[in-house]
Symmetry: C2
Subunit: 235 residues, 2 copies
Amino acid sequence: MNSRRTNPHHAGKSAAASPSPWRARRRDREVKREAVIRAAARAFNRKGYHNTSLDDIAAALEVTKPTVYYYVTNKEHLLFQCFLAGIEPIRAAFREVKDLGAPARERLDAVLRHYGEAVASEFGWCMVRAEDQDLSPAMSRHIKALKSEIDQGIRRLIREGVQDGSIEPCDPKMTAFALAGALNWIAHWYREDQSLTPAEIAAAFVTIFEGGLRPRSASPVATRAPLRRRVRIAR
Amino acid sequence: MNSRRTNPHHAGKSAAASPSPWRARRRDREVKREAVIRAAARAFNRKGYHNTSLDDIAAALEVTKPTVYYYVTNKEHLLFQCFLAGIEPIRAAFREVKDLGAPARERLDAVLRHYGEAVASEFGWCMVRAEDQDLSPAMSRHIKALKSEIDQGIRRLIREGVQDGSIEPCDPKMTAFALAGALNWIAHWYREDQSLTPAEIAAAFVTIFEGGLRPRSASPVATRAPLRRRVRIAR
DNA sequence: TAGAATACCTACTCATGAGTATGATCGAGG
DNA sequence: CCTCGATCATACTCATGAGTAGGTATTCTA
């Protein structure tokens, strides 16, 4: 409708330089592609991967199945794209925190906060549950590698924190598993219980991780420990 | 072959008193039934619910599919039985701890330890992952109720602990989610990483929950807060 | 306006897997 | 021996869902 006819007449016949309408097309296509992925994420989130057919996803977009296949190669790739969309913010959090100078515990807290928000996000379920079993070996390896990268990042921050004294000495592997597990599990209940925002949840969890269950000595009332001699040795 | 013919001639014709061979049969049947459930749990654990066919389970038992159906009504019930087998030890833990007199934190620790071991058990995966989405509404409600019972039990122990001073004041709901989430997640990685026994894992987790990440005041070096010290060397 | 992409649909194929109808086998009891 | 019930197998049905073949409308280019 608009005056797009006035484009350069022979803007480059070779495939190399694409004329501007093509750009627009491409953008459109990319927008739609993302819409497909988001619709898939929502459906997977609600009904699970195996209980979601591509017909379902197509119906949610008010198109038909072949149209969906026009934008993605197959169901597995769809899940993979959702996974990537979910995990990317976490990777970004690590980059953001990398050269921040703060004690490792504070950097870890920041990462965990982003982690929690990512898990509570639209793609959280897909990220957390994209699993070995449902995927082809190649894709499974790929996903495992990305997950492992996150895991190793957390462990490293824990180790650094123990070294710089900002984190209580502990087993980095088990601690990383505990933290990630608690956060991952958000994906399971957040659908049904949205009484808090993702940011609030993440903040609450970090507070819990930091303080632990045993009362801090700062608390006056609680110090009156129940018989048991206080476990001063902690270390 | 053996002299069983000498049984009481007319040991009771009425349906009420069943003759002894029947008892034996029944026991056999129950044993086999449990074998089916265990085989299913193992298969679900390895390949996931949806990627496991009843033919697979039958093959693992070296029988055929109709034989499996002879012992269980359908796939969904099979998952449900696995779920029950997984969750029962946790319910038992609550009962065991109920009238124990100890401070709530210690009772909570005991429950969490059993919880962790249950999740790392043969049926852990089924218990943790038996979900809404894969099940009929009726069964979904049933499972949700049982899960909720556990959740409420944990919250109650937390509340009691906050009251009796054995637990740092906190939001019971979020804290329960964090604890249960961390433990539930064990089911996801324990298959691949069995470097520790379930008991060791549970113990490690409880230690982490108790202490928290922030160093305890007992530790002398750490009390000094965010003076960023040796962070620089990280690389 | 021809021609060529682009974007989308109708109508299939085909494999898989849950669940079943029916019959064979085998041990126990009469 | 003969029957009866318990146990298990062969050989199906049937629904679902992933993925495709081939066609149509629409839009841009020349």
